[in-house]
C-alpha cells in the first residue's frame, strides 16, 4: 500500500518538475504567450470591430433612369429614403455595368424610357435589374432589397388605382400582397452576420492556436535537443514529461477559451439560448481534442519543421470543413467523412445544439464523445515520440 502511494507521489513530483521547467521556458520565450493570448486578442478585436454593424448598411445601388419623369424620380427618392441603401445615378447602362463589374455597386436598376406613360396607360413597363452575386452578402442583400423596392413601386401604383375605386386600405393590401411572410430566425434574430461568423471563427482560431503551439512546444525539445534534459528532470518518465509539459498549456488554452466565451456571450451580448457553462465545457473538450491531434502530428512526424507545416495545412482546412459557411451535408460524400477528423467540426455541432437550440447535454453528448475520442490518438504514437525524445534520432532541421 505504502509502496504504491510512494510511487504515485513520486510520479506527481516528476510531473511537477516538468511543469515548472515548462513555466520557466514560457517565461524565457515570449513566443508561447504571444502566439496564444496575443493572437486571440487580435482576432477577437478584429472580428468584433470589422463586423460590428452586423448588417451592411448603405450599400450602393445604381439606377439608370432613362425615363426621367416625376414617377421615376419619385421612385429614386423613395428608394433613397429607405434603409435599403443609397442610390447612385448612372447615365447609361454601360456605365452602370462597368461600375458593377468593378465592384463599386452591387446591383443596378434600369428604368426604361416611357416608364411613366406606360404605367398610366396600363402597358406594363418592365423594370430590369442586374445583381452582382459574386460578393455574397452584398449581392444577396441587394437582390432582396431591389425585389422589395420593385414590389413596393408596383404596389404604390396599384394602391392609387384601387383607392380611386373606393376600396379600403385593408382590402387594398389583401389585393396587392395577398400573402405576407413572417420570418423567424432561430438563434440569430437580427440576422447579424458578425454573430454568425465570430461564433465559429473564434473557436476556429483557438483550434489553430492550440495545435500549432502544442506541436511547437513538443517539437522544440527535439529541435533544440533538450528532450534529454526534460527526461532527466522526470527521472526518465515519458508520461510524466508529457503530462507536466501539457498542463500549463491546457490551463492557458482553457483560460483563453473561457475568456472568449465570456467576451462573446457576456460582453458582446451574442445570443445564447443554452447555458454558457455548457459552452465552457465544450471549450475544454475542444482544448483536449486539439492537444491530442497535436501530439499525434508531432508523434507521427518527429521533425518540427515538417510537423509544423502539416499542422498549418490541417488547421486552415478545419475552417472550411467545420461546415458553418457551406454545410457539410452538401459536400461530396468523401469530404463529409474527412470533416469528422477535425475537432472544430464537432465543436461547431455542439455549439449549434447549445447556443441555438438549447438542447443541453442530451442534444450534444454525441459531439462530446467524438471530441473525447480524439484522445485515443496520442497512445498510438506514444512509443514513437518517446523513442524520438530519448534517442533524438531524427533530423533536427
Amino acid at each position: 500500500m505504502d509502496k504504491t502511494d510512494g510511487k504515485a507521489m513520486d510520479f506527481l513530483h516528476k510531473i511537477k518538475a516538468a511543469t515548472l521547467r515548462e513555466l520557466r521556458l514560457m517565461r524565457q520565450r515570449p513566443v508561447y504567450l504571444i502566439a496564444s493570448a496575443g493572437v486571440m486578442a487580435f482576432c477577437c478585436i478584429f472580428f468584433l470591430t470589422l463586423l460590428r454593424d452586423g448588417f451592411p448598411k448603405d450599400l450602393a445601388t445604381g439606377i439608370v433612369d432613362l425615363d426621367n419623369s416625376s414617377m421615376s424620380r419619385n421612385f429614386i427618392r423613395q428608394t433613397d429614403a429607405t434603409e435599403l441603401g443609397r442610390t447612385v445615378g448612372f447615365a447609361s447602362y454601360t456605365e452602370a455595368r462597368e461600375a458593377m463589374q468593378t465592384g463599386r455597386i452591387n446591383a443596378f436598376i434600369v428604368i426604361p424610357e416611357g416608364f411613366y406613360d406606360d404605367v398610366l396607360s396600363g402597358r406594363q413597363p418592365t423594370l430590369t435589374f442586374y445583381v452582382n452575386s459574386l460578393y455574397f452578402v452584398g449581392g444577396a442583400l441587394a437582390y432582396k432589397n431591389i425585389l422589395s423596392m420593385v414590389n413596393l413601386t408596383s404596389g404604390a401604383v396599384q394602391r392609387e388605382i384601387f383607392r380611386a375605386m373606393g376600396m379600403s386600405d385593408e382590402e387594398i393590401m389583401g389585393k396587392i400582397q395577398p400573402i405576407v411572410i413572417d420570418a423567424h430566425q432561430i438563434g440569430n434574430v437580427t440576422t447579424d452576420y458578425g454573430v454568425y461568423l465570430t461564433n465559429v471563427l473564434v473557436p476556429g482560431i483557438l483550434e489553430a492556436i492550440i495545435i500549432l503551439v502544442t506541436v511547437y512546444a513538443l517539437g522544440s525539445e527535439l529541435k533544440y535537443g533538450t528532450s534529454k534534459h526534460l527526461l532527466e528532470k522526470t527521472g526518465g518518465s515519458m508520461s510524466a514529461a508529457l503530462l507536466g509539459k501539457l498542463i500549463p498549456y491546457t490551463v492557458l488554452f482553457t483560460a483563453i477559451g473561457a475568456v472568449c466565451n465570456l467576451v462573446l456571450y457576456g460582453w458582446a451580448g451574442f445570443p445564447m439560448a443554452g447555458s454558457v457553462w455548457n459552452m465552457m465545457l465544450g471549450t475544454f473538450l475542444l482544448v483536449l481534442a486539439c492537444e491530442s491531434v497535436a501530439i499525434f502530428i508531432i508523434g507521427t512526424l518527429p521533425v518540427l519543421r515538417l510537423a509544423i507545416s502539416i499542422s498549418a495545412l490541417y488547421c486552415v482546412l478545419g475552417f472550411s470543413l467545420a461546415g458553418f459557411t457551406f454545410p457539410v451535408e452538401a459536400m461530396p460524400g468523401a469530404v463529409q467523412g474527412f470533416a469528422a477528423l477535425f475537432p472544430l467540426r464537432h465543436y461547431y455541432l455542439l455549439f449549434v445544439q447549445e447556443a441555438i437550440f438549447a438542447s443541453g447535454f442530451a442534444g450534444w453528448y454525441g459531439q462530446a464523445v467524438s471530441l473525447l475520442l480524439f484522445m485515443a490518438l496520442p497512445p498510438l504514437v506514444y512509443r514513437r515520440l518517446q523513442k524520438a525524445y530519448v534517442l533524438l534520432n531524427y533530423p533536427r532541421n
Binding site: 513566443v31 504571444i34 482576432c43 478584429f46 470591430t49 460590428r52 448598411k57 450599400l59 463589374q101 468593378t102 465592384g103 406594363q124 418592365t126 430590369t128 435589374f129 442586374y130 445583381v131 452582382n132 452575386s133 460578393y135 455574397f136 452578402v137 452584398g138 449581392g139 444577396a140 437582390y143 425585389l147 414590389n151 408596383s154 401604383v157 396599384q158 393590401m173 389583401g174 400582397q177 395577398p178 400573402i179 405576407v180 411572410i181 413572417d182 423567424h184 430566425q185 432561430i186 438563434g187 440576422t191 452576420y193 500549432l212 511547437y216 519543421r305 507545416s309 472550411s320 458553418f324 459557411t325 457551406f326 454545410p327 459536400m331 461530396p332 469530404v335 437550440f357 442534444g363 532541421n397
Partner: protein, 384 residues
C-alpha cells in the same frame, strides 16, 4: 563605358549566383517544399472538391399545415418543387417541427395558419410563418428565397394585372453558387500566404544558422543590395509565376468555374500580383527569427486577409482603420481584380485602380526590403 559594361557583367553574375543559390535553398528544404508545392498545388484542388456541389439543393424542411385546404396544399407542393427546398416532414404542430429542427433533421420549418384559405378568399392578407435554422446563413437564404418565390408566384397569379413588371438578371453567378464566390477569393490568397510562410521559414533557418539572409557580394562593400534583393526575389518569382498560372488559370478550368477573362489578362494581373507578393514577403519575413515561429505567430493572418479582401463582408462597411490596414496586403487588390476580371468579365483596363495599387506596393515594399537588408547585413557583419 567600359566600367559600365564590367559593372553590368558583375551585377549579372552576382545576381545569377544569388538566384541559383536561393533556388537551391528552396529545393533542399522539405518544410518549404511542403508549403510551396503541397499547399500551393493541393489547396486549390481541395477547395474545389469541398465546394464542388456549389449549392445546397433540396434542403429538408418541416411543414406545419394547420389549414389543410387546397390552397395551402398547393403552396406546400410548390415549395417542395423549388430547387432550394424539400418537404421532408409534415408536422401536426409547431413544437413537433421545432423538435425536428433541434434534432437537425430539418433546417427550417414553414407554418401555414388555419385561417390561410379563409383570409385569401375574403381578400385579406394571409400570413405564412417561416422558421430558419441560423447555424448557417445558407439555410436561411434557401428558406427565404424559396418561400418568397412561391409567394410572388401566388401573388402574380391572383392579383389583377400588374402595373409594373420586372426582370431579374444575376449575370455572373446565377444560382449564388458557393464555389464561384469562395474559390474566386481564396485562390489568389493561397499565392500570397504560402509564399510568405515559405520565405519566412527560409529566412528563419538562415537566422538560426547565424547567417544573414542578405549575404551580399563581399567586394561590393554593401552596395550589392539591389542584386541580392533581385536575385533572391527572382527565385520566388519564377516558382510562383508557375504556381500562379496553375492556381489562377488551370484550377478554375478544372472545376468548371466561370472564366470570362483571357489568359493574357489574368497573366498580366499575375505579373503585378506575384511581384508585389515577393517584395511583400521579403519585407515581412525579415522580422522572422526562427523558422517555425512564422506559423505559430502568423497562421491566423490567413482568415484575416481573406476577410480583408471584402469578398464576404462588403468593403464599404469596413471601419476606416481596417480598410487602411487591408491596403498593406497585395491580396486585397489582386483578389478584387481577379473576381472582377475572371468572373465578372471586366477588362484589364477596368482593373487599373488595383494594378496601380499593386505597383505602389511593389515600389514601397522593394525599398523596405532593401532597407531590411541593409539593417540585417549591418547586424550580422556580412557584406560590409
Amino acid at each position: 563605358m567600359k566600367r559600365t559594361i564590367s559593372y553590368t557583367r558583375q551585377w549579372l553574375s552576382d545576381w545569377y549566383r544569388i538566384f541559383t543559390r536561393e533556388l537551391k535553398h528552396i529545393f533542399s528544404d522539405s518544410g518549404v517544399l511542403v508549403i510551396f508545392f503541397l499547399a500551393g498545388l493541393a489547396y486549390p484542388v481541395l477547395y474545389g472538391l469541398i465546394y464542388g456541389n456549389s449549392c445546397v439543393d433540396d434542403m429538408p424542411v418541416a411543414m406545419v399545415d394547420c389549414c389543410g385546404s387546397s390552397g395551402s396544399r398547393e403552396f406546400t407542393r410548390k415549395l417542395d418543387a423549388t430547387r432550394e427546398l424539400h418537404i421532408a416532414y409534415s408536422c401536426a404542430d409547431l413544437p413537433e417541427a421545432r423538435r425536428l429542427m433541434q434534432q437537425r433533421k430539418v433546417k427550417g420549418a414553414v407554418l401555414i395558419p388555419s385561417d390561410f384559405e379563409a383570409k385569401l378568399a375574403a381578400g385579406e392578407q394571409a400570413c405564412v410563418s417561416t422558421y430558419a435554422d441560423m447555424s448557417s446563413f445558407l439555410y436561411y437564404k434557401n428558406l427565404t428565397m424559396a418561400v418568397n418565390m412561391v409567394m410572388l408566384d401566388k401573388m402574380h397569379g391572383s392579383r389583377p394585372a400588374q402595373p409594373v413588371k420586372y426582370e431579374a438578371n444575376l449575370p455572373y453567378n446565377r444560382t449564388f453558387a458557393y464555389n464561384v464566390f469562395f474559390l474566386s477569393a481564396v485562390l489568389l490568397l493561397v499565392i500570397q500566404q504560402t509564399m510568405f510562410y515559405g520565405m519566412s521559414m527560409l529566412t528563419g533557418t538562415m537566422r538560426e544558422e547565424n547567417r544573414s539572409f542578405s549575404i551580399m557580394p563581399v567586394q561590393m562593400k554593401g552596395r550589392g543590395i539591389s542584386r541580392t534583393v533581385a536575385g533572391r526575389g527572382a527565385a520566388y518569382w519564377l516558382i510562383y509565376m508557375a504556381i500562379g498560372v496553375y492556381i489562377a488559370i488551370l484550377t478554375p478550368a478544372m472545376f468548371g468555374m466561370p472564366r470570362n477573362s483571357s489568359f493574357q489578362d489574368i497573366f498580366v494581373l499575375l505579373l503585378f500580383y506575384v511581384s508585389a507578393c515577393v517584395v511583400f514577403s521579403m519585407t515581412f519575413s525579415s522580422f522572422i527569427r526562427h523558422r517555425e515561429t512564422v506559423f505559430v505567430l502568423f497562421l491566423f493572418m490567413s482568415p484575416i486577409c481573406l476577410f480583408l479582401t471584402g469578398f464576404s463582408w462588403p468593403e464599404s462597411s469596413f471601419p476606416g482603420f481596417w480598410k487602411a490596414f487591408s491596403w498593406l496586403f497585395p491580396s486585397t487588390f489582386a483578389v478584387k481584380a481577379f473576381i472582377n476580371m475572371n468572373t465578372a468579365g471586366a477588362g484589364l483596363a477596368m482593373a487599373a485602380p488595383q494594378l496601380v495599387a499593386l505597383t505602389i506596393q511593389v515600389i514601397v515594399y522593394y525599398l523596405l526590403s532593401c532597407l531590411s537588408y541593409i539593417v540585417d547585413a549591418g547586424k550580422c557583419g556580412n557584406g560590409f
